[in-house]
Protein backbone atom coordinates (compact mmCIF):
# COMPACT_ATOMS: atom_id res chain seq x y z
CA UNK A 1 0.00 0.00 0.00
CA UNK A 2 1.22 3.51 -0.75
CA UNK A 3 3.99 2.37 -3.13
CA UNK A 4 4.05 3.22 -6.82
CA UNK A 5 4.82 0.36 -9.19
CA UNK A 6 8.24 0.42 -10.81
CA UNK A 7 6.62 0.73 -14.22
CA UNK A 8 5.08 4.08 -13.24
CA UNK A 9 1.60 2.63 -13.36
CA UNK A 10 -0.90 3.81 -10.80
CA UNK A 11 -2.00 0.97 -8.58
CA UNK A 12 -5.77 1.09 -8.21
CA UNK A 13 -7.61 -1.19 -5.82
CA UNK A 14 -11.37 -1.45 -6.20
CA UNK A 15 -13.00 -3.10 -3.18
CA UNK A 16 -16.67 -4.01 -3.18
CA UNK A 17 -19.38 -5.93 -1.35
CA UNK A 18 -21.84 -7.40 -3.81
CA UNK A 19 -24.94 -6.49 -1.79
CA UNK A 20 -24.36 -2.81 -2.62
CA UNK A 21 -25.78 -2.38 -6.05
CA UNK A 22 -23.67 0.59 -7.12
CA UNK A 23 -20.42 -1.34 -7.53
CA UNK A 24 -20.83 -2.20 -11.23
CA UNK A 25 -21.53 1.41 -12.08
CA UNK A 26 -18.69 2.63 -9.89
CA UNK A 27 -16.23 0.27 -11.59
CA UNK A 28 -17.47 1.36 -15.02
CA UNK A 29 -17.02 4.98 -13.94
CA UNK A 30 -13.45 4.25 -12.79
CA UNK A 31 -12.58 2.50 -16.06
CA UNK A 32 -14.13 5.36 -18.06
CA UNK A 33 -11.95 7.94 -16.29
CA UNK A 34 -8.84 5.79 -16.77
CA UNK A 35 -9.63 5.42 -20.45
CA UNK A 36 -10.57 9.05 -21.10
CA UNK A 37 -7.51 10.39 -19.29
CA UNK A 38 -5.23 7.67 -20.73
CA UNK A 39 -3.95 6.80 -17.30
CA UNK A 40 -1.73 3.75 -17.13
CA UNK A 41 -3.05 1.82 -14.16
CA UNK A 42 -3.11 -1.66 -12.77
CA UNK A 43 -6.63 -2.23 -11.44
CA UNK A 44 -7.18 -4.91 -8.86
CA UNK A 45 -10.83 -5.75 -8.14
CA UNK A 46 -11.35 -7.25 -4.69
CA UNK A 47 -14.64 -8.72 -3.52
CA UNK A 48 -15.03 -8.41 0.25
CA UNK A 49 -17.07 -11.34 1.53
CA UNK A 50 -17.09 -11.19 5.34
CA UNK A 51 -16.73 -8.84 8.28
CA UNK A 52 -13.40 -10.53 9.05
CA UNK A 53 -12.12 -9.65 5.58
CA UNK A 54 -13.53 -6.15 5.93
CA UNK A 55 -11.64 -5.66 9.18
CA UNK A 56 -8.43 -7.02 7.71
CA UNK A 57 -8.72 -4.76 4.67
CA UNK A 58 -9.93 -1.77 6.72
CA UNK A 59 -12.94 -1.69 4.42
CA UNK A 60 -15.28 1.17 5.31
CA UNK A 61 -17.95 0.42 2.72
CA UNK A 62 -18.70 -0.57 -0.84
CA UNK A 63 -17.40 0.57 -3.20
CA UNK A 64 -14.01 1.77 -1.96
CA UNK A 65 -11.33 2.89 -4.41
CA UNK A 66 -7.70 3.16 -3.37
CA UNK A 67 -5.11 4.83 -5.58
CA UNK A 68 -1.63 3.70 -4.60
CA UNK A 69 -3.18 2.61 -1.31
CA UNK A 70 -4.86 5.95 -0.61
CA UNK A 71 -8.65 6.30 -0.44
CA UNK A 72 -10.10 8.60 -3.09
CA UNK A 73 -12.21 10.28 -0.39
CA UNK A 74 -10.46 10.43 2.95
CA UNK A 75 -12.53 9.11 5.83
CA UNK A 76 -11.75 9.13 9.52
CA UNK A 77 -14.07 6.26 10.37
CA UNK A 78 -12.61 3.17 11.94
CA UNK A 79 -15.88 1.24 11.65
CA UNK A 80 -14.93 -1.52 9.29
CA UNK A 81 -17.48 -3.99 7.97
CA UNK A 82 -19.86 -5.00 5.22
CA UNK A 83 -21.87 -1.92 4.39
CA UNK A 84 -22.49 0.50 1.56
CA UNK A 85 -20.28 3.56 1.26
CA UNK A 86 -21.65 7.10 1.35
CA UNK A 87 -19.72 9.59 -0.78
CA UNK A 88 -20.13 13.31 -0.26
CA UNK A 89 -20.26 14.87 -3.70
CA UNK A 90 -18.85 18.23 -4.72
CA UNK A 91 -22.26 19.91 -4.29
CA UNK A 92 -22.77 18.42 -0.81
CA UNK A 93 -25.16 15.66 -1.85
CA UNK A 94 -24.66 12.11 -0.59
CA UNK A 95 -24.40 9.32 -3.12
CA UNK A 96 -23.51 5.62 -3.12
CA UNK A 97 -21.29 6.43 -6.12
CA UNK A 98 -18.07 8.46 -6.24
CA UNK A 99 -18.20 11.15 -8.87
CA UNK A 100 -15.98 11.09 -11.95
CA UNK A 101 -14.38 14.31 -10.72
CA UNK A 102 -13.50 12.67 -7.41
CA UNK A 103 -11.92 9.68 -9.14
CA UNK A 104 -10.09 11.88 -11.62
CA UNK A 105 -8.72 14.12 -8.89
CA UNK A 106 -7.42 11.13 -6.90
CA UNK A 107 -5.73 9.68 -9.96
CA UNK A 108 -3.96 12.97 -10.65
CA UNK A 109 -2.67 13.27 -7.08
CA UNK A 110 0.91 12.37 -6.41
CA UNK A 111 1.22 9.29 -4.24
Amino acid sequence: MGVRLETGKRRVTFLYWDECQSHDEALARLRKVLSEDRIDAQVEVVRVRSDEEANRLQFTGSPTILVDGRDIQATNTTHYGLSCRAYQLEDGRISPLPSEAMIRSALKRES
Binding site: E19, C20, Q21, S22, E25, G61, G81, S83, C84, R85, A86, Y87, R93, I94, S95, P96, L97
Partner: protein
Protein backbone atom coordinates in the same frame (compact mmCIF):
# COMPACT_ATOMS: atom_id res chain seq x y z
CA UNK B 1 -39.55 -10.80 -2.99
CA UNK B 2 -42.05 -8.85 -0.91
CA UNK B 3 -44.76 -10.83 0.84
CA UNK B 4 -47.39 -8.42 -0.41
CA UNK B 5 -48.55 -8.59 -4.01
CA UNK B 6 -50.21 -5.81 -5.97
CA UNK B 7 -53.86 -5.74 -4.86
CA UNK B 8 -53.19 -7.27 -1.43
CA UNK B 9 -54.55 -5.57 1.66
CA UNK B 10 -52.17 -3.58 3.83
CA UNK B 11 -50.82 -5.15 7.01
CA UNK B 12 -51.45 -2.83 9.92
CA UNK B 13 -48.71 -2.02 12.44
CA UNK B 14 -48.18 0.17 15.47
CA UNK B 15 -44.67 1.53 16.04
CA UNK B 16 -43.02 4.29 18.04
CA UNK B 17 -41.89 7.35 16.11
CA UNK B 18 -39.07 9.81 16.56
CA UNK B 19 -41.75 12.18 17.88
CA UNK B 20 -42.18 9.69 20.79
CA UNK B 21 -45.76 8.99 19.63
CA UNK B 22 -47.19 5.65 18.56
CA UNK B 23 -48.23 5.52 14.92
CA UNK B 24 -50.40 2.93 13.22
CA UNK B 25 -50.96 2.55 9.51
CA UNK B 26 -54.68 2.68 10.28
CA UNK B 27 -54.17 6.23 11.59
CA UNK B 28 -53.83 7.32 7.96
CA UNK B 29 -57.09 6.40 6.23
CA UNK B 30 -56.82 9.16 3.61
CA UNK B 31 -56.38 8.86 -0.12
CA UNK B 32 -53.05 7.11 0.00
CA UNK B 33 -50.45 5.81 2.47
CA UNK B 34 -46.82 5.41 1.41
CA UNK B 35 -44.84 3.03 3.62
CA UNK B 36 -41.09 3.36 3.02
CA UNK B 37 -38.61 1.00 4.65
CA UNK B 38 -35.74 3.34 5.34
CA UNK B 39 -32.82 3.90 7.71
CA UNK B 40 -30.07 6.31 8.66
CA UNK B 41 -26.84 4.75 7.46
CA UNK B 42 -27.62 3.71 3.90
CA UNK B 43 -26.23 6.05 1.23
CA UNK B 44 -29.08 5.20 -1.13
CA UNK B 45 -31.58 6.42 1.46
CA UNK B 46 -29.49 9.52 2.06
CA UNK B 47 -29.41 10.17 -1.68
CA UNK B 48 -33.22 9.93 -1.86
CA UNK B 49 -34.13 11.58 1.48
CA UNK B 50 -34.65 15.09 0.14
CA UNK B 51 -36.88 13.65 -2.58
CA UNK B 52 -38.97 11.88 0.07
CA UNK B 53 -39.46 15.18 1.90
CA UNK B 54 -40.35 16.93 -1.37
CA UNK B 55 -42.87 14.26 -2.32
CA UNK B 56 -44.62 14.51 1.06
CA UNK B 57 -44.74 18.31 0.71
CA UNK B 58 -46.09 18.14 -2.83
CA UNK B 59 -48.77 15.53 -2.14
CA UNK B 60 -49.91 16.34 1.41
CA UNK B 61 -52.83 18.40 0.18
CA UNK B 62 -53.98 15.44 -1.94
CA UNK B 63 -54.35 13.18 1.09
CA UNK B 64 -51.02 11.36 0.73
CA UNK B 65 -49.10 10.33 3.85
CA UNK B 66 -45.53 9.02 3.87
CA UNK B 67 -44.50 6.78 6.76
CA UNK B 68 -40.82 5.79 7.03
CA UNK B 69 -39.83 2.70 9.01
CA UNK B 70 -36.32 1.81 10.17
CA UNK B 71 -36.03 -1.95 10.85
CA UNK B 72 -32.23 -2.26 10.80
CA UNK B 73 -30.20 -4.02 13.49
CA UNK B 74 -28.89 -1.05 15.46
CA UNK B 75 -26.42 -3.13 17.45
CA UNK B 76 -24.21 -3.74 14.43
CA UNK B 77 -25.26 -0.52 12.69
CA UNK B 78 -25.39 2.00 15.58
CA UNK B 79 -26.06 4.87 13.19
CA UNK B 80 -29.56 3.37 12.97
CA UNK B 81 -30.36 3.51 16.68
CA UNK B 82 -33.38 5.44 17.91
CA UNK B 83 -31.41 8.45 19.17
CA UNK B 84 -29.69 8.81 15.82
CA UNK B 85 -33.05 8.43 14.08
CA UNK B 86 -34.38 11.34 16.13
CA UNK B 87 -31.34 13.42 15.17
CA UNK B 88 -31.76 12.62 11.47
CA UNK B 89 -35.47 13.45 11.48
CA UNK B 90 -34.66 16.82 13.04
CA UNK B 91 -31.68 17.56 10.81
CA UNK B 92 -33.53 16.76 7.59
CA UNK B 93 -36.83 18.31 8.72
CA UNK B 94 -38.79 15.15 8.05
CA UNK B 95 -42.41 16.04 7.33
CA UNK B 96 -43.52 12.43 7.85
CA UNK B 97 -43.34 10.00 10.77
CA UNK B 98 -40.08 8.09 11.14
CA UNK B 99 -40.78 4.87 13.04
CA UNK B 100 -38.60 2.28 14.78
CA UNK B 101 -39.29 -1.40 14.02
CA UNK B 102 -37.07 -2.68 16.81
CA UNK B 103 -38.02 -6.37 16.57
CA UNK B 104 -38.05 -6.25 12.74
CA UNK B 105 -41.51 -7.82 12.67
CA UNK B 106 -43.01 -5.28 10.29
CA UNK B 107 -40.22 -5.63 7.75
CA UNK B 108 -40.60 -9.41 7.92
CA UNK B 109 -44.39 -9.26 7.56
CA UNK B 110 -44.06 -7.03 4.51
CA UNK B 111 -41.16 -9.05 3.14
CA UNK B 112 -39.15 -5.87 2.69
CA UNK B 113 -35.54 -6.45 1.64
CA UNK B 114 -34.00 -3.06 0.90
CA UNK B 115 -33.80 0.52 2.05
CA UNK B 116 -35.45 2.44 0.58
CA UNK B 117 -38.31 0.15 -0.45
CA UNK B 118 -41.72 1.66 -1.10
CA UNK B 119 -45.23 0.20 -0.61
CA UNK B 120 -48.13 2.44 -1.69
CA UNK B 121 -51.68 1.71 -0.49
CA UNK B 122 -54.84 3.30 -1.84
CA UNK B 123 -57.88 4.49 0.14
CA UNK B 124 -59.14 0.88 0.29
CA UNK B 125 -55.77 -0.14 1.82
CA UNK B 126 -54.85 -2.14 -1.27
CA UNK B 127 -51.25 -2.26 -2.48
CA UNK B 128 -51.02 -0.28 -5.73
CA UNK B 129 -47.26 0.29 -6.11
CA UNK B 130 -44.17 -1.44 -4.78
CA UNK B 131 -40.52 -0.70 -5.52
CA UNK B 132 -38.16 2.22 -6.00
CA UNK B 133 -38.81 5.95 -5.68
CA UNK B 134 -37.46 6.73 -9.14
CA UNK B 135 -34.83 5.49 -11.57
CA UNK B 136 -31.77 7.49 -10.50
CA UNK B 137 -30.37 7.42 -6.95
CA UNK B 138 -27.24 9.25 -7.96
CA UNK B 139 -28.60 12.38 -9.61
CA UNK B 140 -32.08 13.80 -8.99
CA UNK B 141 -31.76 16.05 -12.03
CA UNK B 142 -31.23 13.02 -14.28
CA UNK B 143 -34.34 11.09 -13.22
CA UNK B 144 -36.27 9.84 -16.25
CA UNK B 145 -38.95 7.72 -14.55
CA UNK B 146 -40.66 9.11 -11.45
CA UNK B 147 -42.19 5.81 -10.36
CA UNK B 148 -43.56 6.95 -7.01
CA UNK B 149 -44.87 10.32 -8.17
CA UNK B 150 -46.51 8.68 -11.20
CA UNK B 151 -48.13 6.09 -8.96
CA UNK B 152 -49.42 8.77 -6.59
CA UNK B 153 -50.83 10.81 -9.47
CA UNK B 154 -52.66 7.73 -10.70
CA UNK B 155 -54.02 6.73 -7.30
CA UNK B 156 -55.17 10.24 -6.46
CA UNK B 157 -56.81 10.36 -9.91
CA UNK B 158 -58.48 6.97 -9.20
CA UNK B 159 -56.65 5.15 -11.97
CA UNK B 160 -54.06 2.39 -11.95
CA UNK B 161 -50.37 3.31 -11.64
CA UNK B 162 -48.71 2.97 -15.06
CA UNK B 163 -45.89 0.92 -13.52
CA UNK B 164 -47.20 -0.97 -10.48
CA UNK B 165 -43.93 -2.65 -9.55
CA UNK B 166 -40.20 -1.95 -9.92
CA UNK B 167 -37.09 -3.47 -8.41
CA UNK B 168 -36.20 -1.74 -5.12
CA UNK B 169 -32.67 -0.33 -5.22
CA UNK B 170 -30.67 0.27 -2.07
CA UNK B 171 -28.96 -1.34 0.89
CA UNK B 172 -30.18 -4.65 2.24
CA UNK B 173 -32.12 -4.48 5.50
CA UNK B 174 -29.70 -5.41 8.27
CA UNK B 175 -31.26 -8.38 10.04
CA UNK B 176 -30.45 -9.35 13.59
CA UNK B 177 -28.44 -12.53 13.76
CA UNK B 178 -30.72 -14.52 16.09
Amino acid sequence: MANLKIGDKAINFTLIGTDSMKHSLSDYPDECAVVIFSCNHCPYVRAWEDRMVAIQADYASKGVHLIAINSNDAEHYPEDNFENMKARAKEKHFNFPYLRDEDQKVAKLYGAQRTPEVFVFDRDSKLRYHGAIDDNYDDPSAVKRHYLRNALDAIVGRTKPPVPETQPVGCTIKWKSN
